[in-house]
């Protein structure tokens, strides 16, 4: 028997941590067991990126994954989602690319998309990865939080209703 206690006592303990740093900012952290150059490679080679960016639980599948990873270069991800009649596209451009240490890109599929900064910090063969997203407003983060279709239904419904009501005002 393993002496360690099972994780059920701390169900939310996980290697991924999320912090809402401010009304417009959210930070995700995770340490990977590998050097920064390999983690960076997995973020910058489309054929690798498409293997992990959309976890199976999201119910989406990649149609296209193009990424010209250099400052000013563009990316475009297209997915099929069972609830969307046509493919869903996410696109933008890379603002900064520093090999093995830093990536910054825009999210331009909506008017209130975030600017995403990812840093890779290697320590003793492990890499601390920090994803920092800055949205133009609190509302944009509330609405976009959780990424592709992942926003809690209550919030999306609430938002839709608010839009309805405002248009009637």
């Amino acid at each position: 028997m393993d002496a360690r206690t099972e994780s059920d006592s701390t169900p939310t303990s996980s290697r991924t941590s999320v912090e809402r740093k401010s009304e417009r900012e959210i930070i995700v952290r995770r340490t990977f067991d590998g050097p920064a150059r390999l983690v960076f490679e997995a973020w910058t080679k489309p054929e690798l990126l498409k293997r992990w960016w959309v976890p199976k639980s999201m119910g989406m599948s990649f149609l296209a994954c193009e990424a010209d990873v250099r400052a000013g270069g563009k990316y475009r991800f297209e997915f099929l989602h069972p609830s969307a009649p046509t493919p869903v596209a996410f696109f933008g451009k890379y603002l900064e690319v520093v090999p093995h240490s830093r990536l910054v890109w825009t999210n331009e599929e909506s008017n209130d998309g975030a600017v995403t900064t990812v840093t890779f910090e290697e320590k003793k063969g492990k890499t601390l990865l920090v994803v920092h997203e800055v949205y133009p407003s609190k509302e944009a983060l509330d609405a976009n939080g959780g990424m592709e279709n992942a926003m809690p239904e209550t919030f999306s419904q609430l938002d839709e209703l608010l839009v309805d009501l405002r248009s009637k005002e």
Binding site: V18, V28, G34, L48, P152
Partner: protein
Amino acid sequence: MLKLNHMVQYASAGFDASFAAISDATRRGVLEQLGRADASISDLAEKFHMTLTGMKKHVAVLEQAGLVATEKIGRVRTCRLGSRRLEEEAAWIERYREIWDARFDELDRVVEELKRQEKTDGRKNRK
């Protein structure tokens, strides 16, 4: 009020009540204000240029929806954000975390594989 009570009987009532509560600009303002700091009803009335009675009504709607909790200490009724609001925020963060967690579990596998490949390639190169 009758309409609100009626809605509360339905399963989605909590949501409807929240929605009714925040469909009013003043009440949204009150929530925003309470997000910054707790306040008494008279503070709120003053801030929103409203009578005490008017503000009491707004706070009652927010309270019924679970968005605001009030507590009377002495002669002052203090308002703060209700637990439901906080729970929703915690749930929002948790949902966000789950997405990235699932994504990073897959990334773990990719990184593992790259490490293995590098090792194998390294061995080959030495030969």
